[in-house]
């Protein structure tokens, strides 16, 4: 078993037959990080506490109490709280902040005996699509280190792609798991909204945020998703908001939006996408064209609702109780000095835009209108998913771009134009690498609410030629 290429399931097998231990796997993870991460920069901290995790895992295995994730090295995005460890959302604003508690997803992983290897880089407060907007600097793409890893969970995607860990947690508000998965050639799942607890996730857009897995295979992603999903009665942020789709009328029918040209996808990506669809047809799937004109408006809807929620969520960062603080002449100047020096440019842009669209005089024209449009999008997608079992489209318009190539904020926003819809509707969506030469490109599947199993099945069929 070559560590860098092994799946979590391979590692599980090796742990069970005694050919490796959790402690050995952790050593391997640290070796890969030491050898490769100087040029990639996926990790912002490797946890010393992982040694204790590995010892506990080895004890669980010896005592025959192992679960599917016992002893498996897992990396965690820097916006998920791990008790006693620094967590910063890649922002100066949370410099030196140590989490007093575990996020629910971390509690779940601990119960399973997983080994939390370290925290991974991201765009500041998860705002961005390249992991360039980080106080720690850029995370580069393991397939070409002059290019970005995608974002905002770029560190988690790169950690999996470079072979440091088989599994990582990310968060997805507008594509932040799927887009870096597409750029780095990994599988990434955005689960159904509300299916995974957000307790201990540093909030960005609370009606959009969801934690999900990044992995090298669909089976591994399914393993991690099974481990983290479900409610936490004590600190609840899970909810069964959506009725499961009725029995799907047309199983194994893949709907493809007829307006991908208008949305804007590169020719090379369309060619790879069409080849992937062709291969799926050969495996017995039927391809149907679906009309979803509202898809094209996702950017306008999203970049009203998300900044609005971000401006509200990030109002708590005032330098009085934790994190970064800058002295001022009086209380108000301390707030202003702290926030102006603590937040990066992209975060400030979105807070101001969000404050604007929520302000008296603009609320109806922007925020309320966007909420109505969001509802129209949910209806359109639900209707489409009554006729087909899944929707398919490329995950990203093109491959990973070179560092610094998206200086204009609006050009960066356009990178998300195929992923925002799943967040706005709450639908689950998964990106899996297509078979391409050169840089990775992902195909995205979107299914009805709580039908993640359908997504994993499609992904398996893409991965197995």
């Amino acid at each position: 078993m070559k560590y860098e290429e092994a799946t979590a399931q391979d590692m599980r097998q090796a742990l069970e037959d005694g050919s490796t231990t959790a402690t050995d796997l952790l050593k391997e993870a640290r070796r890969v990080i030491r050898e490769k991460d100087d040029s990639i920069h996926a990790f912002v901290e490797v946890f010393d506490s992982a040694d204790e995790d590995a010892r506990l895992a080895d004890t669980m295995i010896q005592e025959k109490r192992a679960t599917p994730l016992t002893g498996i090295p897992i990396a965690v995005k820097d916006n998920i709280c791990v008790k006693g460890r620094t967590v910063t959302a890649a922002s100066k604003m949370l410099e030196g902040f140590v989490s007093p508690y575990d996020a629910t997803v971390i509690t779940r992983l601990r119960e399973q005996g997983a080994v939390i290897v370290g925290r991974t880089n991201m765009d500041e407060f998860a705002m961005g699509s390249s992991t360039e907007h980080s106080v720690y600097g850029t995370t580069f793409n393991p397939h070409d280190t002059t290019r970005v890893s995608g974002g905002s969970s770029g560190g988690s995607a790169a950690a999996v792609a470079m072979g440091a860990v088989p599994l990582a947690l990310g968060s997805d508000t507008g594509g932040s798991i799927r887009q870096p998965a597409s750029f780095c050639g990994t599988v990434g799942l955005k689960p159904t909204y509300g299916s995974v607890s957000r307790h201990g996730l540093i909030a960005l857009g609370s009606s959009l945020d969801v934690i999900g897995p990044l992995a090298r295979t669909a089976d591994d992603a399914a393993l991690l998703y099974q481990a983290i999903k479900g409610e936490n009665k004590k600190y609840d942020s899970t909810a069964d908001l959506f009725e499961d789709a009725a029995t799907v009328k047309n199983s194994r029918v893949i709907g493809v939006p007829d307006n991908l040209d208008a949305v804007g996808v590169s020719q090379e990506t369309m060619d790879a996408f069409n080849a992937a669809l062709q291969a799926l047809q050969e495996k017995g799937y039927t391809i149907a064209s679906v009309s979803l004109p509202i898809m094209e408006h996702a950017g306008a809807i999203y970049y009203i609702i998300q900044p609005a929620e971000a401006s509200s969520n990030l109002a708590r960062f005032d330098g009085m109780r934790y994190g970064f603080h800058k002295d001022g002449d009086d209380l108000w100047s301390e707030y202003r000095e702290t926030r102006s020096a603590g937040f990066g440019d992209e975060v400030m842009r979105r807070i101001v835009a969000g404050t604007y669209v929520l302000s008296a005089g603009y609320y109806d024209a922007y925020y309320r209108k966007a909420m109505d449009a969001r509802r129209a999008m949910q209806t359109a997608f639900s209707n489409a998913l009554e006729e087909v079992s899944v929707l398919a489209m490329p995950t990203t318009p093109d491959t990973a771009f070179p560092e610094g190539a998206r200086q204009d904020p609006i050009a960066m926003y356009a990178e998300d134009r195929l992923t925002l819809q799943a967040n706005l509707t709450g639908l689950p969506a998964l990106s899996v690498p297509m078979h391409t030469d050169g840089l990775p490109r992902g195909i995205q599947f979107i299914s009805g609410y709580n039908r993640e199993e359908t997504l994993f099945a499609c992904a398996r069929d893409v991965q197995q030629r």
Partner: protein, 92 residues
């Protein structure tokens, strides 16, 4: 574009920047507002967002033992006085 209202949003967001930085931020927010202006072209005549709200709040009960995280939290305060966060004078 409503220049004064963007400046007001910057003020309400509690940001204080140099003139050049303020101008750059202003320009970027204008760009974002132009980008989302397309929202007006979406037909929402048949959707009623307010009808779809679901109450997901849990019962309003304290779920954390009193003082459970007090020291971990207060220990991170930039300025502390005994068991309180210390701030500059609020009332003048």
């Amino acid at each position: 574009m409503e220049q004064d209202d963007i400046s007001r949003a910057i003020h309400l967001s509690l940001f204080e920047k140099s003139d050049a930085e303020q101008k750059a931020l202003h320009t970027d927010v204008e760009k974002i507002l132009s980008f989302v202006a397309d929202i007006q072209s979406i037909d929402t005549s048949t959707t009623a967002e307010t009808a779809a709200k679901t109450n997901i709040f849990r019962d309003d009960v304290v779920t954390v033992p009193p003082g459970a995280f007090r020291e971990q939290i207060l220990g991170q305060a930039p300025n502390r006085f005994k068991d309180w966060f210390l701030s500059k004078k609020i009332l003048s």
